[in-house]
């Protein structure tokens, strides 16, 4: 026996409808119960409200942890210059002339490594922290003409 005949013969429709109804009823009831649960708990808790208030008067506030004062941000980032800063800027500007502006920072790093520049990662970081190089907001960078 197949098809709709089989379903009817085995009471399939009734089982499905009742089954879905029971699942829905169960979860709906649970959902309704849960939705009221926090209100019931709150109501139960407020029975002791007065004693809670009395306890609050005697309860000392826990001392707050003092926030550590933040150290002043370094104006010069941690980079030991073995060479003149202006010289580094000049060298990197020469490199960016080859790739144009705004330039991709990874590309600049790659070229500077290939050219054997001294500690190119730190150098680029220094240029960024001193705002000689600025981000354009689209993932690329350009020279700050004001510096």
């Amino acid at each position: 026996m197949n098809g709709l005949e089989a379903i009817a013969a085995h009471n399939g429709w009734a089982i499905s409808v009742v089954g879905v109804s029971i699942v829905f009823t169960g979860l709906t009831l649970l959902s309704l119960t849960i939705s009221q649960l926090h209100k019931v708990i709150k109501f139960w808790d407020e029975r002791d409200k007065f004693s809670q208030q009395v306890k609050q008067l005697w309860k000392k506030e826990e001392p707050r942890e003092e926030k550590e004062e933040e150290e002043e941000e370094e104006t010069i980032p941690d980079f030991c210059l073995a060479q003149d800063i202006d010289e580094i800027t000049r060298q990197f500007k020469l490199l960016t002339k080859r790739i144009g502006e705004p330039f991709p920072l990874p590309k600049l790093l790659e070229i500077s490594e290939r050219c054997g520049l001294f500690r190119p990662h730190s150098a680029i970081n220094y240029l960024l922290r001193t705002e000689r190089i600025l981000p354009d907001g689209k993932g690329y960078f350009y020279w700050n003409e004001n510096k």
Partner: protein, 147 residues
């Protein structure tokens, strides 16, 4: 080796969490020292680990050589550990000697799924960071998913 609780508490991403939650996260995190030029994560690799910067500077570069730079304590990398398709969308390189906190992605996901209030707070913070970097990062994510 786990991270220091006070250190975590001072970070923006965990600043609103309860002490017990921060303790739990601290037990899962490991501090790492990274050298200048070292690659922390690679674009396209499975996103196994989530990172938070404690000190130092990083560049995260994406497809098309677009990049962002991280200079602040509390900056995050590797958020793809909690966002599908769980593949790093960028390559993270240290621009200076740095210290970071690492959190295995599986532990992070388990933490978020096991405690939804905690997960909600952390995801909001991550969301804020992602939105800030959104202008071009969303294009890159979309392209990487299509590929």
């Amino acid at each position: 080796m786990s991270a220091d609780v006070q250190t975590l508490k001072s970070l923006e991403i965990f600043s609103e969490l309860a002490h017990e939650d921060v303790e739990e996260i601290a037990s899962l995190m490991t501090p790492l020292k990274i050298m200048e030029g070292e690659t922390v994560m690679r674009r396209g690799d499975p996103a196994h680990t989530f990172y938070i910067v404690l000190s130092g500077n990083f560049m995260v570069h994406f497809k098309d050589d677009r990049a962002i730079t991280l200079h602040n304590r509390g900056d995050i990398m590797g958020w793809s550990t909690v966002i599908t398709p769980f593949q790093y969308t960028g390559t993270g390189v240290a621009l200076t000697d740095s210290e970071i906190l690492s959190l295995p992605g599986q532990n992070f996901l388990r933490l978020i799924q096991g405690n939804s209030v905690l997960g909600d707070k952390i995801m909001k913070k991550i969301n804020a960071v992602v939105v800030e970097r959104m202008p071009f990062v969303s294009e890159i994510r979309k392209e990487s998913e299509d590929n």
